[in-house]
């Protein structure tokens, strides 16, 4: 059996095709989910891909979170279904309050498209369960608004509950401002909800899914999730 990965498409989304390619390489079946629809077409797992949904006008993800599809995504998430938000998808999940915090303009005030190293901080949840803590992954980022922010108390809580999933780091896993491309608090590149089934991350795993593209590390996240969905 193949696993259905729903890929949300909002007007302005641009990495749905990249995500579909990635899903196929990982052995899943991609299903496009149009923002105006209200159901997930039997998807086991939902991906909110990168892009500029509704132009990202006003604030990133601010308008997209009201899409009819997001009601279905919310139900799926609250029922424990796996949801992965990548880049714009992460921003939408924060706006929809399915993840804590917000993503602000990069502190360098510029868009950044470059390769980054990420340190795996949490190994819970469908996407990271297959990985060891401290493992270094290489993946590109591509965003202008990826500076993770959460109010101080919330940040403490996130750390306490092991919700920080990924941090930007150097090639050997070391933390430092020179490796933090956007000024995120605590070098945070990805966070998850308390339960671990909803993960949001700024880097693009779907751009790291073939040796020809420079890295295959993005496949790990999806393979872990697909194994889980398949087992259940």
């Amino acid at each position: 059996m193949t696993w259905r990965c729903g890929i949300a498409v909002f007007p302005g989304t641009w990495s749905e095709r990249d995500c579909a390619h990635w899903v196929e390489l990982a052995g899943g079946e991609p299903v496009m989910l149009w923002h105006a629809e209200r159901q997930l077409k039997g998807a086991d797992l939902v991906i909110l891909p990168g892009g500029f949904a509704h132009g990202d006008y006003l604030r990133t993800g601010a308008i997209a979170r009201f899409a009819p599809l997001m009601d279905a995504v919310r139900d799926h998430a609250l029922a424990g279904g796996p949801v992965l938000g990548i880049c714009n998808g992460f921003q939408i999940l924060c706006e929809a309050q399915l993840l804590p915090g917000a993503l602000l303009r990069n502190s360098c005030l510029q868009f950044r498209c470059q390769s980054t190293h990420l340190r795996v901080e949490a190994t819970r949840g469908p996407f990271l369960a297959g990985l060891e803590a401290g493992r270094i992954l290489e993946m590109p980022i591509s965003h202008g608004e990826g500076r993770y922010y959460a109010p101080p108390e919330q940040l403490l809580e996130l750390e306490a509950h092991g919700q920080v999933a990924l941090r930007y780091c150097g090639p050997a896993g070391e933390l430092g401002d020179e490796y933090n491309p956007n000024g995120s608090l605590q070098h945070i590149a990805g966070v998850m909800n308390r339960e671990g089934n909803v993960l949001g991350m700024m880097p693009h795993p779907e751009r790291a899914c073939e040796p020809l593209l420079g890295s295959e590390d993005g496949l790990h996240l999806l393979r872990a999730a697909l194994a889980l969905v398949g087992a259940s």
Partner: protein, 739 residues
Amino acid sequence: MATPSPAQLRELALTEEEYQHAVRQLGRVPNQLELGMLGALWSEHCSYKTSRRLLSQLSSKGPQVVVGPGENAGVVDLGDGLLCCFKIESHNHPSAIEPVQGAATGVGGILRDVFAMGARPVALLDALRFGDLTDAAQRHRFAKVVEGVGHYGNCIGVPTVGGETYFDPAYQGNCLVNAMCVGLVTAPRLLHAVARGVGNPVLLVGADTGRDGIHGATFASVQLDEGAEERRPAVQVGNPFLEKCLMEACLELAGSSALVGLQDCGAAGLTSSCAEMARRGGVGIRLDLDQVARRELGMTPYEVMLSESQERMVLVVERGRVEEVRAVFDRWELRSDVVGEVIAAEELQISSSGEMVARLPLPVLVDGFLPRHPASSRPADVVRDLSAPPVTAGVPWTLEEAWLRLLASPNCADASWIYRQYDHQVGDDTVVLPGRDAAVVRLRGRRDGLAITVDGAHRSSLLDPRRGAQLAVAEAVRNLTCLGARPLALTNCLNFGDPDREEVMWQLEEAVAGLAEACRQLALPVVSGNVSLYNDLSGASIPPTPVVGVVGVVDDVHGIPGPGFVAAGDLIYLVGGEGAGLGGSELQRLLGGRVLGPPPELDLELEGRASEAVRQLVTERVARSAHDCSLGGLAVALAECCVEGSLGAVVRLADPPTPPDRGLGLLFGEGSGRYLLSVEPGSGGRMEEVCSAGQVPCFRVGEVGGELVEIVGLAQIPLAAAAEARLKGIAGAMEGPVL
């Protein structure tokens, strides 16, 4: 209507003579709206009235060519039913006035040209020119243009995979912003910008029509002057989000038989898009302006017809199938309105509030302009400067100093400060990222891929514009060759000053002739292009700046070598022409002062043979690294190979330097046609065999290894110093806040 005053005509960029010419052809006096439409379509920007005669020298013939110049973009065949569609275009004037939006809408415009052909855009490139980065205003402009280019491409989700940037005080007043787009389409989905079928409805889709950009075409056809600010509405704010939806909707329709023709609303808005579509189809169009959705109240027919509001497309649709077409736009939440229909009379008929407000025969509107032949002459000081020896005696630096200064020149340095602001990976197909001689975008489901580069003429064009244009073509071919790509076809953007100045007209004539020669010699058909004249500020013209974009094919996208050396002990070969040539070089630019001396020699035949041989060596993977020598000559290219590979090198050059020159020519001369290749020690034989079979000079000049970049007996610099100089060239200059 009374005869318009000279001031009114000037406002429309029409001369008295052109006005009389219009009256004669129409057999009556045009009304104000008609005059505005004529002014826009007869502007240089739309009619090419000055350059058209010259452009006919450029050949678009070749078995690979599917569509040549004349449509929205050129098209070449990639085999197996896949076509590649591409074009370059300028947005210089708007970018000078509002850098972010000017650059952004330039990208938006070239994207529309490509998806108007039914092609999905897969790559963008930009060619940029600014004044010196030591000037705060230039830094600001540069930063803002980069932000604008990035903004549009990043939002719409098309990767910006390459470009070219050059800084010189000569561009202080007129920055240049050229954008190129490459798209892919399968043969049955290829669209044309044509109106056909009397009675077929004409639709306007996308953004509402506003008052912005009125007279943009005429604006691009006159000099920037102190009053330019007053024509402010000529600058528009783009909406990449809307364009993304427009693009998806148009691409969804591309396969449908309901769609007869598609054209973007570019310069001169509805007027030019309707006129050109109808003219191509040998029909006419009747428009009802009451059906045009407007952004503002109280717009006059004049404003509606000449608005250049962005993100609009015109469609001709099969009668009776409007609803299925509109359903697609509805789904993308885009406005679409039937605004007219195709008629048999070859006219553009405009009605508003039930009245016919303009009626112009298309042969007059589109082709009735007066061709211009401004006088040209070669300026005397160019003759003098050409024969002057390039300064070498006065170089105040040691060879090492000169070398490091060149590496840190923003023109040679690492450009990642620019392209890290561009999403260059979206689409998952960019397999050679920016930073190399050319970028490569793979073709899904195939082994081969597209290699793409843009290159322009530099200072030597001032001395010899013909040579300059040829050097630009040769450099583009070399850049593709380094990746093993076979060049397929070329697009060009001719950026020049005011053609009514005799020396500018001479430059234009020479450059086009040079371009034609080089393309013929290198078997490169010219499939599309754009001309940008009047790049002048306060009487100073920019240097002649032809920019070429070339698309090629690499047979296998796996294992393409880079410029960086791979392993210590590998042999380094210098392949191709002679060095020397400091005239108009980057070294000369660093010294300041006039551009002097003969520009680098160029042997187009040798250039072709060298390209063949190097391509073969790269394709066979005999070459483990390949890079061409361009700005800064051999020494800069060598240092780049070392820095990229994090390996030093020891190189010996045969010719002993003579005293005043001290080896400057040998190291930094910009002679054309040269490549630096490295091979495994055991492959030297194959290397020499291929070159001698191709009658291409090939010298084993050294070996990879060590911590130094050394040219024995002349100069050596530490690898780390070379790396640092290269890195800080642009990024260092741009430190600190730019708002």
